[in-house]
C-alpha cells in the first residue's frame, strides 16, 4: 500500500533538497578552510608548548636563534590567529551565512580556492619570516610587512559573497542576529586590519602612538572578529540543536549593538600610565569594563534559551562545545574588565594575565564555538558521520582541561608577577625572585598546551578522515550518549 505524501512532507522534502544544494555549493571552500585551519591549530599548540618551556629553560633545544622565545612566541600566536582562528572562522561564517540567508554560492568558487591558497601561503611565509628574523615586534602583526596586503585581499574575496548573500536575504523581522554578527565580522576585520597596518607600516614614525594603535588592533581583533564569529555561531547552533527560538530578540539586539558601539574604543588601556594622552587609556578602561553589559546580555539570552535542555549538552557534540565556548564568553569579559580598570589593571599590567586573556578569548571562547560548528557542518558537507565518539570526547575533555588550566594559572601568575613588580621590598633587587616565582606557572602552561596539542592531533586526524569521505555511513548522527539515541530530536534528523 502506498501512502500519498502530504503537502507538509513535500515541503520538508523541498526544504531538505534546498539545504543540500546550499551545502553542496559551499562544500569545497569550507572544508578547505577547516582542514588547513586544523593543521595550523596543531602547529600553534606545539609551538605554544615549546615557547612556554623556553621561558623556564632558555637553552632548551640549544641556542638556535630561530627558536628563541622572542621569535617563537609571536610565531605561536600568529599561527593561532591567522592560521587557525581567522581561517576556520571564515569557514563557519561562509556556511552559516549561506544557510541562514538561504542562498547558494552561485559563482566565484574557484576564486575562493585561490584566495584560500594565497592566505595559507602568506601565513606560511609570514611565520617563516618571523622565525628567520623578519619580525616587526608589533603584537599580532609580527609577520613581515609585505604579508598583510595578501591577507587582506584574500579575506575580502571571502567577505564579498557573504555580504551579497546577506544583502539579498535581509529582512527586518525574524531571527537574523547570527548573520548580523557574521556580517559585522566581515565588515570590521578589514577595517581594523587595514587601519592598523597602514598606520604601523606606511606612516613613518608614530612612536608610542604606534604601540597604542597596536594594542587597539589586538583588542579590536578579539572583540570585533573572534567575538562576533563565536557569538554568531552560538546564536545559530543553540536554537538549532535545542529546537527552541532565541529567548529574547530584544536582548539579542541589545547585545549586538552594545558590542558594536563599545568595542572600537577599547585597547589602549594596555598602556595605562604610559606615554599616550591619558584620555586614550581612560576611554579604553571605561569601555573595557562596560563591555560586561553585552557579555552579560548574550550570556543571559543563551541561558534562557538552553534552560531545560541541558540534557542535550550531554549528547550533542555541537551543543556541548558551543555551550562551553559560550560559558567562556563571560570569562573573557570578566578578564578584560579586570585587566582594563585602573584598580585591578595596574597590578595585572605587563604580566602573564594578558596572555591568559588572549588565549581564553581565542581558544576557550572562539575556538570552542568553532569546534561546535565544525562538528555540525562537516558531516553535512562530507556526506558521512563522525567516526568515533571517543575521539570527540577526547577532544572535548583535553581541550577543556587544557584551556581551563591556562586561564587559571595565567591569572594567578599575573597576580604573583604584578605583586612582585609592585613589591616595595624589591625596590633594589634584580629580577631573580620574579623569574623564579613565575617558573612553576610556565611549567603549567607548557603542560596545558601539551594537553591541548594531544586533543587537537586527534581532532586533525578525525577531520582528515571525514574530509576524505571515510566517516561512518549512517543516517544517525554521532552522539555522545547512546542511551538517548532512541529519541532522536528533529535537529539531527
Amino acid at each position: 500500500m502506498q501512502t500519498i505524501p502530504t503537502s507538509a512532507d513535500l515541503d520538508l522534502q523541498a526544504d531538505n533538497l534546498r539545504r543540500a544544494a546550499i551545502d553542496k555549493s559551499v562544500k569545497g571552500p569550507v572544508l578547505f578552510l577547516f582542514l588547513n585551519g586544523a593543521f595550523w591549530l596543531m602547529a600553534s599548540t606545539i609551538l605554544g608548548v615549546l615557547a612556554a618551556i623556553k621561558l623556564v629553560s632558555p637553552s632548551f633545544l640549544g641556542d638556535c636563534q630561530y627558536l628563541q622565545f622572542g621569535r617563537l612566541q609571536p610565531t605561536h600566536l600568529n599561527a593561532l590567529i591567522y592560521g587557525w582562528g581567522i581561517q576556520a572562522g571564515l569557514g563557519v561564517m561562509l556556511w552559516i551565512m549561506a544557510r541562514r540567508s538561504g542562498q547558494e554560492l552561485k559563482s566565484g568558487k574557484s576564486l575562493l580556492y585561490v584566495a584560500g591558497v594565497f592566505w595559507n601561503i602568506a601565513v606560511t611565509l609570514g611565520l617563516l619570516g618571523i622565525l628567520l628574523g623578519g619580525s616587526t615586534s608589533m603584537q599580532w602583526l609580527e609577520m613581515p610587512r609585505w604579508v598583510w596586503p595578501i591577507l587582506l585581499g584574500s579575506f575580502l574575496v571571502f567577505a564579498w559573497p557573504m555580504a551579497v548573500m546577506f544583502g539579498k536575504a535581509f529582512r527586518p523581522e525574524g531571527f537574523m542576529v547570527s548573520t548580523w554578527y557574521i556580517l559585522g565580522a566581515c565588515f570590521w576585520f578589514p577595517w581594523i586590519f587595514l587601519t592598523a597596518n597602514v598606520c604601523l607600516h606606511c606612516i613613518p614614525s608614530l612612536g608610542a602612538l604606534g604601540a597604542g594603535i597596536n594594542a587597539w588592533y589586538v583588542h579590536g581583533l578579539i572583540l570585533l572578529f573572534f567575538t562576533p564569529v563565536a557569538v554568531g555561531s552560538s546564536y545559530y547552533f543553540i536554537p538549532k540543536i535545542t529546537g527552541r527560538p532565541i529567548a529574547s530578540a530584544e536582548l539579542a539586539k541589545l547585545g549586538f549593538w552594545a558590542l558594536a558601539v563599545l568595542a572600537g574604543w577599547t585597547g589602549m588601556q594596555t598602556y595605562m600610565g604610559g606615554p599616550l594622552p591619558s584620555w586614550m587609556p581612560s576611554v579604553g578602561a571605561l569601555t573595557g569594563t562596560l563591555l560586561l553589559i553585552p557579555v552579560g546580555v548574550v550570556g543571559l539570552n543563551h541561558h534562557l534559551t538552553t534552560l531545560g535542555s541541558h540534557n542535550l549538552v550531554a549528547t550533542s557534540p555541537t551543543l556541548r562545545f558551543t555551550f562551553l565556548g559560550s560559558l567562556f564568553y563571560p570569562v573573557t569579559g570578566v578578564l578584560l574588565a579586570l585587566l582594563s580598570n585602573y584598580s585591578t589593571g595596574v597590578n595585572l599590567q605587563f604580566t602573564h594575565a594578558g596572555y591568559g586573556f588572549q588565549i581564553v578569548a581565542i581558544y576557550g571562547f572562539f575556538s570552542m564555538c568553532v569546534f561546535g560548528a565544525i562538528y555540525y557542518i562537516v558531516p553535512r558537507l562530507a556526506g558521512c558521520e563522525w567516526l568515533s565518539v571517543r575521539l570527540i570526547r577526547n577532544h572535548f575533555w583535553f581541550s577543556t582541561y587544557g584551556i581551563g588550566s591556562i586561564v587559571v594559572t595565567s591569572i594567578v601568575a599575573g597576580l604573583q608577577q604584578g605583586g612582585d613588580l609592585n613589591n616595595p621590598e624589591m625596590w633594589d633587587q634584580d629580577f631573580m625572585q620574579l623569574a623564579l616565582n613565575s617558573r612553576p606557572y610556565m611549567v603549567a602552561r607548557a603542560i596545558s598546551w601539551a594537553l591541548i596539542t594531544w586533543s587537537n592531533v586527534w581532532f586533525l586526524i578525525h577531520l582528515m578522515l571525514m574530509v576524505a569521505g571515510l566517516g561512518r555511513r549512517s543516517s544517525a548522527p554521532t552522539l555522545l550518549h547512546s542511551a538517548h539515541d532512541d529519541t532522536p530530536h528533529a535537529a539531527h534528523a
Binding site: L55, F69, R71, V283, F350, N422, D428, F431
Partner: protein, 228 residues
C-alpha cells in the same frame, strides 16, 4: 532595503566614531609633533627636548629578536606603580634618589618608527637602561651568555649576534672575556658582529627621562646631564 541600509549605516557610525577619534585624529595630530626647545631661564638647560635620539639600527635588531616580548620600555607614574622608585631605573643612580623617575610622555619616543613599549615584564624595564648600563663588554657578555652572569636568568642567549672564530695572532680587543661553561674552546675567541654592536648602541641610547621643559620638579631633581 532601507532597513538594510540603516543596518550598514549603524555599523559604520558605531565603529567609525571611535576609529576617527582614537586613531585618525591622533595620528594626524602626531605628525605635527616637533621637538620642544628648552627655555634656558626656566629650565636651566639649552637645546631641544628630547635631546638625543635612539639608535635606529640597533632598534631593528631589538625588534627582530623580539626583545619586547619580555622587556618593557615604559616607566609608570608612582600613583599606580613603583617603577619610578626602583633603584637605578632612572638617570639618578643613587640608592635613595630625591625624586622618583618620571613617567614617560609621547615626546620621549619622538622619531622612533615604532616604540616597543612591551607586552610582558618578564625582565627589567629598559626605558632608561642607558643610565645604569655597565661597560659594553659586560652587556656583550650578557647578550652572549646570560646565565654566565646569573644562573637563574630566563633570558635567551643571542649567540647568533656573535662570531666564534679561531684566534689568530694576539686576541682581538673586542673579544669577549668569558670564563667557565660559556667560554669558547682554547684557541678560539668570541667577537661581536656589527649587529651586536648596534644593539648595544641602542641599549645605551635608551634614556627616556630627560627633563620635560617647563616641569620644574624634573629640573630640580635632575643632576647635570652626565656624559656616558
Amino acid at each position: 532595503m532601507s532597513n538594510f541600509r540603516t543596518f550598514i549605516l549603524g555599523l559604520v557610525a558605531s565603529f567609525g566614531l571611535p576609529w576617527l577619534c582614537l586613531i585618525v585624529i591622533p595620528v594626524l595630530k602626531y605628525q605635527a609633533l616637533q621637538p620642544v626647545a628648552y627655555d634656558k631661564d626656566a629650565d636651566g638647560i639649552e637645546g631641544y627636548y628630547p635631546p638625543a635620539p635612539i639608535n635606529g639600527q640597533g632598534q631593528i635588531v631589538y625588534l627582530r629578536e623580539g626583545c619586547s616580548q619580555c622587556h618593557t620600555q615604559m616607566i609608570r607614574p608612582t600613583q599606580i606603580a613603583l617603577d619610578g622608585w626602583h633603584k637605578g631605573w632612572g638617570q639618578d643612580q643613587e640608592a635613595r634618589p630625591a625624586a622618583p623617575v618620571r613617567s614617560n610622555t609621547l615626546y620621549d619616543y619622538l622619531g622612533e618608527h615604532y616604540a616597543p613599549l612591551g607586552i610582558v615584564r618578564a625582565g627589567p624595564d629598559l626605558a632608561n637602561y642607558g643610565w645604569r648600563a655597565p661597560e659594553r663588554a659586560v652587556i656583550h657578555q650578557k647578550l652572549f651568555a646570560p646565565r654566565s652572569q646569573h644562573d637563574w636568568s630566563n633570558m635567551p642567549a643571542f649567540k647568533n649576534l656573535y662570531i666564534v672564530r679561531k684566534a689568530q695572532g694576539p686576541v682581538s680587543a673586542k673579544a669577549l672575556k668569558l670564563t667557565g661553561k660559556s667560554a669558547p674552546e682554547t684557541g678560539y675567541e668570541v667577537v661581536p658582529t656589527a649587529e651586536a654592536e648596534a644593539l648595544v648602541d641602542y641599549l645605551l641610547s635608551l634614556k627616556k627621562d630627560y627633563p620635560v621643559p617647563g616641569v620644574s620638579a624634573a629640573v630640580a631633581a635632575a643632576p647635570a646631564p652626565a656624559k656616558k
